[in-house]
Amino acid sequence: MSFTYFLKRAAFAALALAALMISAFFLVRLTGDPVNLYLPVDASEAAREAMRVRLGLDHSLLAQFSDWAWDILSLDFGVSLWHNRPAMDVVLEALPNTLALGAIALALAFTAAIVMGSIAAVNAGGWIDRGVNVLSQAAASVPDFWLGLMGVLLFAVTFSILPTSGFGGPIYWVLPVACLFARPFGTLVQIVRGSMIEALNATFVRTARAKGARDGRVTFVHALRNALLPAVTVTGDLAAQFAGGGGVVEVVFGFPGIGKLLIDGILKRDFAIVQASIFAVAVVIFVINILVDMLYGSIDPRVRVE
């Protein structure tokens, strides 16, 4: 894609992020006592005063803002109170884990959805189609944290073949990936099925048959390529969601990703971590969106911008 287009997107993303962070800054200071974000509600007055001074809350709002803005621009998100390290360092450690987890789960979901969705579409209206429909609806409706707990119950507690939580070798990834896999799989199967049915009814598929192509070629060479387009878009959206939204599953399994980091930060009132995590997630989402656009352009020649 052209450089100016990329710049425009980058500018808009930066603007959106700035808007979010700035509004967060002001919201924090204008709604109630910001110290509440750092201390439990029943902290003593002396502790609060000390925190206030430590956070620079006794300075004027303008001074606070300029200090804050300067810090953010130099990517200094403060020191995490709980980890006793610069927040951004902690975040950068956790980020790759989440990305890997999301990528694996999505890749599996996408592949499985293409296969199941195509089978269902070719069999449209028949028993296989209905079976796939029920399965995908169930998968799309399952609460991931519950699935995680049941998985732990079944595989870890009852059968002891998988660990309950923690981090280490590949075996620690099995359950988290399985949980994250369910909902995207369910959604994508429906989408692939729908667009495959549409593609299979399209005129150019009749042309392929009229040219003498057998069913296999018609389905996988002609119809599928067209049916992929909506699925790729949705997968891109899901990827963006996973960047910051896979948190609940991470919490269930104690998986050291950025989702767990963020939620722990919120529960423990570690604002530096929260701020840094949100920033990191926003950047990741932006990058993913650009990648999806480029991917879409390579699949659908009609979209390639002149």
Binding site: W146, L149, I263
Partner: protein
């Protein structure tokens, strides 16, 4: 969705014909029937609970951690009991009203707010429209859970905050759809209405734009019901949603987590309830989408298979 041959029948007959047609369409989709049955059961359960017919939440040490499927006990104990001996089934039903209530209120808020803002943005455009759309883009740029978590962090987890946060994060989807539909209708009607009837914007909005926007918005709302339920369960599970002593299914799963190996039913049944209800909403949303699209009616009403 109109049976054109009945255009000239009296209104009451038209209405009953339409209801019959809807019932037939419902019967054409067995999954939707199952979904409706489940939802009716849930609604009935909530209703009986509101009339206090269930015998309440008595703590009883005798039934402490009673496992489920023991049909010798009274029927309320068939799903087991928790650490304080309270029947799980009763707690599930009590939580049902909270869980579903929050989902419904949230969706209604996004629906009404989103439709209004979207129609305004579409019909009047200009600076107001632009501001609305840009704000939407910003909100849509971030994952819902993230924004919800941040919002609850800033403002504290209360029921009203929960509803507001969830409604706001989902509203941009409604706004976009409402605006797109409004633009389409506006292009079609603008010249005619202005020239022929001299009708003002309010009239056009009410009689033309809203009815054509309504089916799509309702479909969106039905899909959103499922999503909001899942979000609320997740947030309550994390401890940032419904707070004790109120109870919701998500919260019950969190409370059951500690008893995973000893009393698995405490975490299993609430989560199952969420899944079945979410699934029912999804299935009905699917059915609704087909029913409101005239070109798809044959799927449900055709006698040939």
């Amino acid at each position: 969705m109109t049976d054109t041959s009945s255009e000239f029948l009296p209104t009451s007959e038209r209405r009953s014909r339409r209801i019959l047609w809807l019932l037939r369409a419902l019967a054409g989709d067995p999954m939707a029937v199952a979904a409706t049955i489940w939802l009716l059961i849930v609604v009935l359960a909530i209703f009986t609970d509101s009339l206090s017919l269930l015998g309440g939440n008595r703590i009883s040490l005798k039934t402490r951690n009673l496992p489920p499927f023991d049909f010798g006990q009274s029927w309320t104990l068939w799903l087991g009991a928790d650490a304080l001996g309270r029947p799980l089934l009763v707690r599930l039903i009590q939580a049902a009203s909270t869980t579903i209530g929050i989902a419904v209120v949230t969706v209604l808020t996004s629906l009404i707010g989103g439709t209004l803002l979207g129609v305004i943005a579409g019909y009047f455009g200009g600076v107001v429209g632009n501001v609305i759309m840009r704000t939407c883009d910003i909100i849509l740029g971030f994952p819902t859970l993230l924004v919800a978590l941040f919002g609850l962090y800033l403002f504290g987890p209360s029921v009203s905050n929960l509803v507001i946060v969830l409604a706001v994060t989902r509203m941009p989807a409604y706004i976009r759809v409402a605006r797109a539909e409004t633009l389409e209708v506006r292009e079609r009607l603008f010249v005619d209405a202005a020239r022929v009837f001299g009708g003002g914007p309010k009239w056009i909005l009410r009689t033309h734009i809203l009815p054509s926007v309504a089916p799509t918005m309702l479909t969106l709302a039905s899909v959103n019901l499922a999503m909001v339920m899942l979000f609320e369960s997740g947030l309550s599970y994390l401890g940032l949603g419904i707070q004790p002593p109120s109870v919701s299914w998500g919260l019950m799963v969190a409370q059951g987590q500690g008893y995973l190996s000893s009393a698995w039913w405490l975490g299993f049944f609430p989560g199952l309830a969420v899944m079945l209800t979410t699934m029912s909403f999804n299935l009905l949303a699917n059915w609704f989408r087909i029913v409101t699209d005239p070109s798809q009616h044959w799927r449900l009403v055709s006698r040939r298979r």
